[in-house]
């Protein structure tokens, strides 16, 4: 199971820099590693979410050519926070998962922006929120919904198959 997690994180992070750019809509791309981190955190708790977020963020830092540690930190926090939700909210329903993913993307973006501001990142928060964080959050919401539907369908098909 740990190997599959590792492969998901590795594959998701690499896909983010190779495959996902072609899914761009109006210059906005989804954040596949963050979506994976969120779903893993919801299923496996804050520790797994934190570690997966850290690893995925670190890989993105490496592949993206930015400062090592920015995304690692923001995603580790995001994964940890998302992993804490199941004890407090009923997160099994897609109507909770998808808005949660959108909010998580916004929160992670704000944390990342805050970290970068500490390191003298020049852009303004309003501009960044309007052009990067919110559109990506919405795209993540759509993609997350599609992933949830795909997983549900796969479960249904598998159940039908074993039943017959």
């Amino acid at each position: 199971m740990r190997l599959s997690l590792l492969l998901m994180v590795f594959g998701g992070s690499l896909a983010q820099s190779s495959v996902v750019p072609s899914w761009s809509v109006g210059g906005v791309t989804p954040d596949l590693p963050l979506i994976l981190t969120a779903f893993i955190a919801l299923r496996r708790g804050p520790e797994a979410g934190c570690l997966v977020g850290f690893a995925a963020g670190l890989l993105q830092d490496v592949t993206g050519g930015g400062l090592l540690g920015v995304q690692a930190l923001s995603r580790a926090l995001a994964g940890f926070a998302m992993g804490l939700l199941p004890g407090r909210l009923w997160v099994g329903h897609p109507l909770v998962q998808i808005p949660g993913l959108v909010l998580l993307t916004v929160a992670e973006g704000l944390v990342r922006f805050g970290l970068l501001r500490l390191l003298h990142f020049p852009a303004s928060i309003g501009e960044f929120l309007a052009h990067v964080i919110l559109p990506q959050a919405l795209y993540n919401g759509f993609l997350g919904a599609a992933c949830v539907l795909a997983v549900e369908l796969a479960h249904t098909l598998r159940g039908r198959h074993t039943w017959t």
Binding site: F10, L14, A15, S17, S18, V19, S22, P46, E47, C50, L51, F54, L58, L59, V62, T63, L67, L68, G69, V70, A72, L73, A76, L77, F80, L115, L119
Partner: protein
Amino acid sequence: MRFRRYALLLAVLLMSLFLLTVQTRGGGPTRAADLVALAITPVQSLLANAHRGALTAWHTFTDWKTVQSENMALRADNERLRVQSLQVRETDQENRRLRRLLALRDRMPLATLTGEIIGRESGGWARSLTVNRGRTDGVAQQMPVIVPEGLVGRVAQVRSGASIVQLLNDPASTVGAVVQRTRTPGLVEGEPGGGVRFKFMARDGAGVVPGDLIVTSGLGTLFPKGIPVGRVTAIEDKGSALFHFAVLAPAVDAARVEEVLLLTGQSTQDIAGLFTPDG
């Protein structure tokens, strides 16, 4: 359990902050980053290539689908246009035929009635056309039926809304005619084989030669004088027989006739000049 959880978070945060601090202070874990990059770059390029290949395949497929659907649409367009073109040509031909028929009607010194062919009988026993004009239109038996090229035949039967026209090449058809050039009289008869012959009286042939035009004689009251019947294509010499026969090419190809004029009036005038060689 809870302590462990937050300890892990703290460790991860510290690790990240350490990485950031080292980088911002001018040094940096570039070596580590280089090592990670060294490991992941081949996988990245493999993924990118696979993705590019999949995209190319997908674009090829969509292009093919597009071309295929365009091809089908163009084929359908082509079919539609071809049918339209045929319809236009058909209408054009009908228009020409009707114009010629109307021109002939206007030139005629006697009353006429236009009719449309609605049926054909071309077996060996009888050769006839059915015209959509009948008793209610004033059609009577024996009325001559013509087209711009010449004589088609005569009305053999009249019904309430239609008439049967006996064609020149009907085996029972007989029309009094003359050779236009020599005025040699004779009879034009239909043959069981579908041909038409001109039976003339003179034993010496009276100078009839292939190419001569045979027109109605106007003798009797049935046909006006001068309606083209056919052209001589050959003279059949029967040796000791009393009569010579001229084989005719009918002036009218009855198989192609679609509209006709029924001559409802009478005239003693020679109307040969109203018919032109091409109708």
